[in-house]
């Protein structure tokens, strides 16, 4: 038998060292997010850098080899052609829609390619091939042609990490298009099938009644997501919380797992993007009301005052 640890004394020493290492690991785990971020960045920028760069290169090559794939598919069989073209046409459709959206957003959003991560600990996040050099910053909104995907959480020179809406920490202040109901949207996970994840609006006032099919957009509160980005469509009521609040299930506008290209916000976040998606502009009851000539704040409709004040 291999006897690495030797005598009792040596074993105690080994255990003490291991305990010290465990304390280091626990300290890292319990560190404030800002400190964790700098350690993460250091590791990503050094040890993991070749792997992340390789993914960016492979992703670019994969995109440029689409034509070859199509030719091979045509050669192989008609069925393969149909199948490949169905996928390609879907991707083309998405890209065309994204291009149209980009034309409307102008320079305040820049296009980026999605680099999916296959590590369990990085679930609900992905990398994009733009970073601080392109104007991306922490909390930059990330959108697809259909609506909100998530926000940037880590930025490097030419690469950033994005938290999509399925992440447990994701929150977005949302409202109906008419601005009558507001709440906080967050993910509801289905452990058996992550593709069945949906969004839930928590904290909608009890007197409001959202109808299935109603579009829900960002409110613009919290200086992260500009106002008017589609988030989801109301599916049904989730629960009514003993008389004060209701929760609603939302069908998200975007499934992160199928997104291959996105637009990243690099402009001001106080813009109203409602018109980009053709949704009616809601009355803005969330901002500080303009002062009346007498110097007193103008009255506002208290029936639409948001009940939540979280900043995202």
């Amino acid at each position: 038998m291999l006897d690495f640890d030797g005598s009792k004394k040596a074993r105690r020493r080994e255990a003490a060292i291991a305990l010290g290492l465990l304390v280091v690991a626990l300290t890292l785990w319990l560190l404030p997010a800002a400190f964790q971020s700098s350690v993460r960045k250091a590791i990503q920028g050094t040890v993991l850098s070749p792997f992340l760069s390789a993914q960016a290169v492979l992703s670019g090559r994969r995109a440029s080899s689409v034509d070859v794939t199509e030719v091979r598919a045509q050669r192989d069989s008609l069925v393969a052609v149909v199948s490949a073209q169905a996928t390609l046409s879907e991707e083309n459709r998405r890209l065309r829609e994204l291009l149209r959206l980009h034309a409307r957003t102008g320079p305040s959003f820049i296009p980026a390619e999605v680099l999916q991560l296959g590590i369990g600990t990085a679930e609900s996040t992905f990398m994009i091939n733009v970073g601080s050099e392109e104007g991306v910053r922490v909390n930059s909104p990330v959108i697809a042609a259909e609506g909100l995907v998530g926000k940037v959480v880590e930025v490097r020179d030419h690469m950033s990490q994005v938290m999509d809406w399925t992440h447990p920490d994701y929150r977005a202040s949302v409202m109906t298009v008419d601005g009558q109901s507001m709440g906080i949207a967050q993910a509801r996970h289905d452990t058996d099938n992550r593709e069945q994840d949906v969004l839930v609006i928590n904290g909608a006032p009890f007197h409001t009644d959202l109808r299935p099919g109603q579009l829900v957009v960002t409110t613009g509160r919290g200086n992260i997501f500009p106002r008017g980005i589609p988030v989801g469509i109301v599916l049904a009521i989730d629960e009514a919380d003993t008389g004060w609040r209701k929760s609603y299930l939302l069908r998200p506008m975007v499934r992160p797992e199928v997104v291959t290209s996105v637009l990243v916000g690099v402009g001001p976040v106080d813009a109203d993007l409602s018109e980009l998606w053709g949704s009616a502009r809601a009355p803005d009851t969330t901002r500080v009301p303009p002062r009346s000539p007498g110097g007193r704040p103008a009255r506002r409709d208290t029936s639409t005052v948001p009940i939540t004040t979280t900043g995202q």
Binding site: A18, L21, L48, Q55, A122, H189
Partner: protein, 161 residues
Amino acid sequence: MASRSDLSFWVFFTLLVIAHFILHVALGLRETAPDLLTVALLLGVRRTRSSVAAAIGLLLGLLQDSLSLSAFGADAVVLTLLGYAGARSRDLFEGDSLLFVAAFLFIGKWLHDFGYWLLARDPSASGFVSLFLVDVPIAALYAAVAGVVALLLYRASTGER
């Protein structure tokens, strides 16, 4: 001074770690690729002192955690414990047969996923039973098979028994 066999084993260990990050980060494969990081740790800790095993666990955990947003450090904690426990398991279990290695890898991977779930679970998530009776055993079996195949290749290339 490290023997030739030790050196070749740690080269094999490094290759497993690199393969893990190629499959999961560079190629972006998720569950379709086995967890070679845990496999590498479990194979490595049987050949080293328990303190070194814990240190290896800490380092590998930090690498894995560097892409985690909400549970940074959780895998470092779990792999540190797993490294130490794996090294100390020599006192309880001994064996080099493929069946023993497969069982060791299976249990180790299951414990890893359970430990990680305890530290980093999403409070809104449900489905503990299906996760640990179906998904995790499949992932553990996949890791065990991948580990045994890798070990066979290593033994074939080095002549080690």
